[in-house]
Amino acid sequence: MMVKEIEKSGMPVVHMANMTPVAQGIGSNRIVKTYGISFPMFDPNATPEAQKQQRYELVGRALKALNTPVQESTVFE
């Protein structure tokens, strides 16, 4: 609901979320799928080095999503 409202205001926004059907249901247009509800930005079972890499790549995907044209609600996996 917040993401939709932000986009409505003309502010480009990317939604990083794990529950992608929910994000699509509430009208987010650019969605990056995260690792989990309680651990969105990396896999807590990975090594600290791998975790660091995971969140770097995930943010990278969010940046790419901002820069990708979409026609409808789209999930970037």
């Binding site: 794990n18 529950m19 992608t20 059907p21 929910v22 249901g25 690792y35 509800i37």
Partner: protein, 435 residues
Amino acid sequence: MKLDIGTFHVKDIRFGDQTSYAGGVLTVNREEAAAVLNRDGALKKVRLEIARPGESVRIIPIKAAVEPRFRPDGRAMFPGYTGPAAFAGEGVTYALKGMSVLGVGCRSINGMNAMLDMSGPGAEQSYFSQLNQLIFLAENADPGEDNIRQENQNFVRAAHVLAEYLAAAVKDLEPEAWEHYDWADVSEQHLPRVAFLQQQCNIPNWIHGCSYYGYDLTGVPTTLVKPLESLDGALTGDRGSLPGNAVRTTYSYLNAPLVKRLLAEHGKTLDFVGILMTGHIEPIDQKKQYAHIIVSAATSLHLDAAIYMESHCGNVDVDYMMTMAALEDAGIKTVGILAENNGRDGRNPGKTYADPKANAIVSTGNTCEVYELPPMDVVYGNLNTIGQELYWGAWRDDAVCGPSLRKDGSLIVDAHMFLDHDGLLGWSDKTVKDF
């Protein structure tokens, strides 16, 4: 399979020299009962109290609710939990009706506990207000156990032990009345095959839905349970994490109105093939796997129809709606039973995710409905946990409502606070309507 429950109707509870039952009065030896429930020494400062319907009493934080039960043939009442494994759901069980045991602490880590008012507007929000309550108050002996993972467990176990001890008082008495249940094979009548699916909201080390014969069902996608087992102590509320609707109490399982109504229809309008406890899991990919496994179990039971209970709100909505849609796709006519999350102003969509295939739903309430509650003369437990702990239905301060706990002891809270507010096993006499 036959179950006979011999009942004794408890009209009042009193403290006295000997724990005994006579003429509708349960007399409890306070010291002995406190010692029995704490036989493993896991608790300290154990004290028993009594609350009756209509009294000006508020109880918080509640961690467990159990109906007193006893088996005259020596099997443990809660097999695999309070005693050795044995089959439940058959034979003879004695029950003390009209009352419940409540386990109450002094803390509520992460607010995973509930409140009960015995009178006033809050009393309308929980059927437990209609029961006489034997309350035990305690603290964990080891403060190291006051954490999300362990906090409630000692209280939950003690409540079951106490319930069994109390009901043993009637072991040599003739029951006042009987409830007879017969779950016969009616397959030759070719009635529609119906199961009752119960979603468990499971988050490992935090929210544990329930146990089956003492085995924690957290993370288990499907478990088949016989209807009479549910009414007879095979299912126990696990961690006493009871806010609003996330987890059911053992009292609720033992008396589940939906199970009773389906048993009443069994052999008449439908063939009640069983209860399917279904799991929930956070990651989205596994949600899809779970939906698949649940539908596979439902189709292998050759179901024609199902009643599907949702547990709580939030990300469980995704598991629930996905599964409901998949059940319909598999040709299983499904009726949902759930509570909504409409927000305080009622303008939220009710579910974070929903599928139009879910076209037959019973709504048992809005867990975000806000209530103002007057102060009570007596509080058992710790009212100050409101404001200190992160209850789901209370807040330290709020721009619109102010703090939940006011100086005079009155409250403004939402429905998450009330013990089994949502009554998802069929208790609820509430619904949600458009206005």
